[in-house]
């Protein structure tokens, strides 16, 4: 079990309010991802759930029980830190066993659990090493192992993959997703990488300056972003967002179209522009187009390979049913 409810939670550091009043429910078994730009309060929110940061006001419930005043270890949560936070003076075995030893579990029971966790995380060969003698990915696994053995009602991850290289990051991402599939335990995962958010989450919570901009499934956020911020934040490459006369023509104050929803043509179309850079990824081509009259550079994503190059004149036509429209307040209309 692990249903987490935040009621009217706020956080201030001194005079500055980092989290204005905030309500949020994370259902049991859900994989919730907090995303947002740096400094928006993701870690602070996670740490408040963990109990490492006191609430300025409000209340946190886990499985219907008010845990606002309960110390971290009594909340039944396990946390994986960005820096891994392994105990450098202990072997991998001792690191993983540590929370169990603190619970006062029998040594034989501990050994069994540690062996099992190590096996599932491919750490069996490293049990007697110290963390300093492990690679980043292995350290991350140890940190996860230390969380798993406690059998928590929810896992909290604070940017666990951001210290890993790109290839390893993709691998670990899958492993964590698989872990969630098999354990069905609630997970709250903080990241500023929206690809991680999109691929892993059941539910994404988009934060900006401590305010929840939108909560929804990845595809809800992709198809119906509630406002300009979410529209620009979710999706890669970013949505093309423009205002002014071109937006007015479409009946909006601000309008947006995703790169994958623009068609190109060499002879005619809605907007005419000049190719700046064309990025050929093989599977896709990202074409960055100048001088379209929309203001910023426009990015277009074409499936497969297209033969356009720097300086070519090109015509762009948005798929009209895929245009997102926003009003003066930046809200979706």
């Amino acid at each position: 079990m692990g249903r987490i409810v935040l009621n009217n939670v706020t956080k201030s550091f001194g005079e500055t309010q980092v989290i204005p009043p905030l309500d949020l429910t994370i259902e049991d078994g859900e994989f919730a991802v907090f995303v947002g730009p740096s400094g928006c309060g993701k870690s602070t929110l996670l740490r408040m759930i963990a109990g490492l940061e006191e609430l300025t006001s409000g209340q946190i419930e886990i499985d219907g029980e008010d845990v606002t005043q309960v110390p971290p270890s009594k909340r039944g949560l396990a946390m994986v830190f960005q820096s891994y936070a392994l105990y450098p003076h202990m072997t991998v075995r001792k690191n993983i066993a540590f929370p169990l030893r603190m619970e006062g579990m029998d040594q034989s029971e501990i050994d069994k659990k540690v062996e099992a966790a190590a096996k599932s995380l491919n750490l069996t060969d490293y049990l007697d090493r110290k963390p300093a003698a492990l690679s980043g990915g292995q350290r991350q696994r140890v940190a996860i192992g230390r969380a798993i053995v406690r059998n928590p009602s929810a896992f909290l991850f604070d940017e666990p993959l951001s210290n890993l290289d790109a290839a390893l990051r993709v691998g670990m991402r899958l492993e964590i997703s698989e872990m969630h599939e098999s354990m069905k335990t609630t997970m709250i995962y903080v990241t500023h990488d929206q690809v991680e958010a999109m691929t892993m989450a059941d539910k994404i919570v988009v934060l900006q300056a401590g305010v929840i901009e939108q909560v929804g499934t990845p595809l809800e956020l992709y198809h119906t972003p509630r406002n300009v911020f979410v529209a620009g934040f979710i999706g890669s490459p970013k949505m093309n967002i423009f205002s002014g006369s071109e937006a007015k023509k479409l009946g909006a104050y601000t309008a947006g179209i995703r790169p994958e929803h623009i068609d190109i043509d060499l002879s005619g179309g809605t907007w005419k522009g000049t190719v700046g850079v064309a990025e050929h990824l093989g599977s896709d081509t990202f074409v960055h187009v100048h001088d379209t009259g929309l203001g910023d550079l426009v990015t277009v994503r074409i499936a497969g390979d297209v033969a356009v190059k720097h300086g070519d004149t090109i015509y762009l036509t948005p798929q009209m049913d895929k245009i997102h429209k926003f009003d003066e307040q930046g809200l979706r209309v």
């Binding site: 963990a50 971290p72 396990a78 830190f81 820096s83 936070a85 450098p88 003076h89 929370p99």
Partner: protein, 277 residues
Amino acid sequence: MAIVSTNSNISRYGRPVLAWGVALLFFFPIFWMVLTSFKTDADAVKPEFLIWFTPTLDNYLNLTENYDYWRFATNSVITSVCATLFTLVVGIPAAYAMAFNPSRATKDILMWMLSTKMLPAAAVLYPMIFLAKGIGLYDTHVLVITVVSLINLPIAIWMLFTYFKEIPKDIIEAGKMDGVSTWGEVKEILIPLAWGGIASTALLIFIFCWNEAYWTVRLTTIDAATLSKLIEGNRAPEGLFFGRLSAVSTAAVGPIVVLGWFCQKQLVQGLTFGAVK
């Protein structure tokens, strides 16, 4: 070009010469003291015997036979060991609290502790003596250990605080998530991780305690008197007994120099504040 080469000449020859000069300047009094301790009191004041003289062990024999050296030495050991332990027992929790649970007052408290080191000891000399006599603790181990600990506590806390600060906060928080008690946090995480720093601090404090003279001389007569008192007692006004005085001094600083020599690495690490990583 010319300037560069002059510069490098100066740094090639000038610096070592300067370094050696300074080192000798500092070392000379100690060297002289050790030499003098092997001279008779009569030889000690004669310039012609500065280097060439007939060495004698009389001063040292005299020290153990007539001056009760071992009792003073034992008191020095008791005082230094107990004061160092006491300093750590109080200092570790204090530094821990300030490093990991700082409040708005933490900075001020640290500064205030340091400021107590700026108070001239003489300013509180008489109040201290009256107080000590008043509560019947004059010339006792309890008093000497307490006073010596307290005057070193600020430095100990500062040093420990600096070491503890280097421990990543995440690790302490991971401990909190894993359910360690406060004492467990100190025992399982803090002490093992800051072990080098704690050892350096202990060593330095031990040396300070051993060398403490101002208070140990003034707050004791016989029972709790340390080696500092023995030196003080041999400082004859006429200045005639230089051989004996030198032997006393050598025997007093000897143990600590030997200790320092063996723990050099730890000490240097401690003084450069960079041991935990």
